[in-house]
């Protein structure tokens, strides 16, 4: 137990650099007491406009230029100026050192909240969670983005704004399908990237040769009755990777741009899979750190009330049917789950012992750490959502079947429903479930080199009509005709689209 501070930190509403440093020192000390392992912190003060700039480039300090970021900026700016939208209080970047942006407009209490939330909560999550450890390299992301920006600019100068814009449009359309879900990618390293680029370009051009083979095979006899060889031999889920390596008509610089988009998508992939965990973790820790600081006598009542108000807003979960309801609030769910795990460790009930024999009564810090490090949203919920929390949140599960006139409530927060609700919620956060499963199925090597993609429907859920537009983008990248088949659970093709190659321009 540390000694109680003789005097609380000053709590005026305006911040100053000295005050932030004082608060930061105490927060860091408190965080170290709980053993939060973080990258070094770099705090940066920015203005609202800079915050919107950061929004526009997907939260990164640098990024290549594209009109869609301009669109994003314009709509954010408009909504902000009209007061429809508050800006986030912070943005934190998964880099080493971990960069946290603090907004100039924040009060001192908010700055303290933000430092605890971003610089210790998110930061330790970035450093600890297995997905981030495995898929992203915090030390080199900024370098890589600088490289990407320069490379794209160079391409714009050399090949024209239009050509680059069209290419990026097409790549962005496939961005969600440009990640390796299971295979671990090599980490980004700028020096190696550069050294390997020319080598890769030459090699990649050779690789597409199979598609170009026009000489007849020596023996016609076998070809006639042998089953047509599939290419690729196994279906591939990473569409951008397949295109980068196999599209016959792409120039080397185009392949490199595809690769850049793919790498950036891969970098953000863990964030998309750990929304609940990440935000919940950061929220849990700002709550716990600031409360501890209050108990130690560091915070004044005024500061305390102010951040608590903001905390309450952040974790507010409107009930279904409420006019503000738009799905489950990841902050609320994550915060509730971590708090619940801590409760189960410290004050387990008989029910907890039955459901979570490993957790009930264990050391809460170690348990929480384990939960943060080794899961993603899907498995985290599947593992740790307790019956008690389901009752508190009053969760219920609804099935919407197109063959049925009405929706059916299939499970609620009762003994019969706990497992079903938990499973359904867990699946709801499974990216593979949320996004259509589309794979490269075949390339017609003998004929028109057309590419076939296949969508395997999950629970007979069809694709929406936007698929036709996306397919045009695929055709632009592929250079030849493309078709997309959607296969339902019975194995029949229920929807199909085709797009012919865009004329060379």
């Amino acid at each position: 137990m540390t000694e109680r501070a003789t005097q609380p930190l000053p709590g005026p509403s305006d911040w100053s650099f000295e005050l932030i440093e004082q608060y930061h020192a105490v927060i860091r000390e408190t965080a170290e007491r709980f053993g939060l392992d973080t990258y070094p912190n770099q705090l940066e003060i920015i203005t609202a406009e800079q915050m919107m700039d950061a929004y526009a480039s997907v939260g990164m300090p640098v990024n290549y230029r594209h009109w869609s970021y301009g669109k994003e900026f314009i709509s954010n700016e408009k909504r902000y100026r009209r007061g429809h939208m508050g800006l986030a209080y912070e943005i934190v970047i998964n880099a080493n050192p971990c960069i946290s942006y603090l907004m100039e407009e924040n009060t001192l209490a908010m700055q303290a909240l933000v430092i605890a939330h971003a610089a210790y909560g998110h930061n330790s999550f970035f450093k600890g969670n297995y997905l981030f450890r495995m898929w992203t390299d915090a030390t080199s992301i900024i370098d890589y983005l600088v490289y990407a920006r320069n490379y794209v600019t160079e391409c714009e100068e050399r090949h024209g704004l239009d050509a680059v814009e069209q290419l990026l449009d097409s790549c962005h359309a496939l961005m969600n399908h440009g990640v390796d879900r299971y295979r671990r990618p090599s980490k980004l390293n700028l020096a190696q990237e550069k050294a390997m680029r020319s080598e890769r370009e030459a090699y990649a051009q050779q690789q597409v040769n199979d598609l170009w083979r026009t000489l007849p095979r020596k023996a016609d006899k076998a070809a006639a009755n042998a089953p047509a060889r599939r290419y690729p031999e196994e279906p591939q889920e990473n569409l951008l990777y397949f295109i980068e390596k196999n599209a016959p008509l792409l120039e080397p610089w185009q392949r490199e741009v595809v690769r850049i988009v793919r790498k950036v998508a891969q970098y953000f992939y863990p964030q998309r899979q750990t929304q609940v965990m990440n935000e919940g973790w950061a929220t849990f820790w700002h709550h716990h750190l600031l409360n501890t600081m209050y108990d130690d006598g560091h915070l004044t009542d005024g500061v305390m009330i102010e951040w608590l108000k903001s905390h309450t807003n952040v974790v507010y979960q409107p009930p279904a049917g409420h006019k503000h309801y738009s799905g489950i609030n990841p902050y609320a769910l994550g915060f509730a789950m971590y708090s619940d795990i801590k409760r189960m460790c410290e004050q387990p009930t008989e029910e907890d012992r039955r459901w979570f024999p490993d957790v009930a009564g264990a050391d809460w810090l170690a348990t929480l750490n384990q939960a943060m490090r080794n899961f993603k949203d899907e498995s985290f919920i599947g593992q740790y959502l307790s019956p008690r929390l389901m009752r508190e949140l009053r969760l219920f599960s609804i099935v919407d079947d197109e063959h049925d006139e009405e929706l059916e409530v299939v499970a609620i927060h009762d003994d019969a429903g706990y497992r079903r609700v938990r499973e359904a919620l867990s699946r709801q956060y499974d990216l593979a479930h949320r996004e259509p499963n589309i794979q490269v199925w075949n390339v017609n090597l003998r004929g028109d080199r057309a590419l076939t993609l296949r969508h395997v429907q999950h629970n007979d859920r069809p694709l929406d009509e936007g698929a036709a537009e996306v397919l045009k983008h695929v055709a632009r990248l592929w250079g030849f005709g493309v078709q997309l088949e959607s296969v339902n659970s019975a194995g029949d093709v229920s929807q199909s689209w085709t797009a012919s190659a865009t004329p060379a321009d």
């Binding site: 920015i46 496939l174 197109e402 409530v409 537009e469």
Partner: protein, 425 residues
Amino acid sequence: MLQQIIDRRLAGKNKSIGNRERFLRRHKDQIREAVKRAVDGRGIRDLVQGEDVHIPRRDISEPVFSHGPGGQRETVHPGNDDYLRGDRIERPPPGGSGSGGSGASDSGEGEDDFVFHLSKEEFMQVFFDDLALPNLARTTLADTPEFKTHRAGFSSDGNPSNLHVGRSMRGAIGRRIAVGSESRRELTRLEAQLDQLLSHPQPSPHEHEIAALRIDIEALRARLARIPYLDPIDLRYRSRVRVPVPTTKAVMFCLMDVSGSMDESRKDLSKRFFILLYLFLTRHYERIDIVFIRHHTQAQEVDEHNFFHSMETGGTVVSSALVLMDEIARARYPTSEWNIFGAQASDGDNWHHDSGRCRELLAGRILPLCRYFAYVQVADEEQNLWDEYAALAAENPVFAMRKATAAAHIYPVFRDLFKKEGVAA
């Protein structure tokens, strides 16, 4: 170790200006259309402001593969009030909220247009896109009396207010090091020698040498001390040079008929034309004078307010205005310094004996002075003034004429008059 907090606030905003440019570029056609509509509908005072541009949302959507409605889906929601397992709920109408657990719409605006604000500069950019001043040979440099000063490095003389302290001190340090180095080396050598001699046991056999060394050392020290800390040759001054600048002054003559036949709507058309020309010139010249001349049977130079707002009636003698313009131009705006532009608006109604004289005045006296002279007729009827002018336009490239009979025509006519050579309007 306490990390530094970095203040980024001054480190440039508008980092995404490049993205914005790309966005505008992509939607150029819609923006141009919006600008055109805006100009047609606007009052004169606020002709050039920013403008809200509407773009249909489907034009800026970025398609991705996603699930459509249908099939079977199970979603979990919080806040159960009174449902039990097996309860059946009426299907909410499509598009209603509450069905997509995580697929909440981020736009929140549905099918509305995407609206954004074009700043004044961007508006002007689009407004005058592809337009250029014809005959843009600028008035000769030789006799321009205008100079601009700008920095040109450093010089060794100048006045005290231009003294550059940093540079001067840097020079002084260099000089002190360079001038003193020989003596300092010698001094070090002698001192070492002296120390060596002094280390011998007393009494020393080298008394003489020691005394001589001491004198030398003193002399060297004195010499070193005499090296001035700051010498006049160290001083550096910021150098500023005067360079002649090409003249960027223009004068614009606005000639308007205010006779009885010019009603309010015709005057309004004329004003629009003048304002467009004025705005356009402001993009090319730093300083612009405007001379307002109105006429019925007599011409008069007036200020802007009277020009646009006062009412006059009577007959029309166009040449009176041209005579006045000629006088003013020759008296006040020598062509060696001023680029002269003329803009005339009229309904084409003129005392019929006067039109021939107008043509002579223009051809003989005025057009040789002008960079460009544009005539806009705000009525459809072609009278003798139009015919005379048409003959003039055929033979003189500095002169151009068009008709505009509705507010919506003004902008296209203007574009037509000033279109860049080789670019379709």
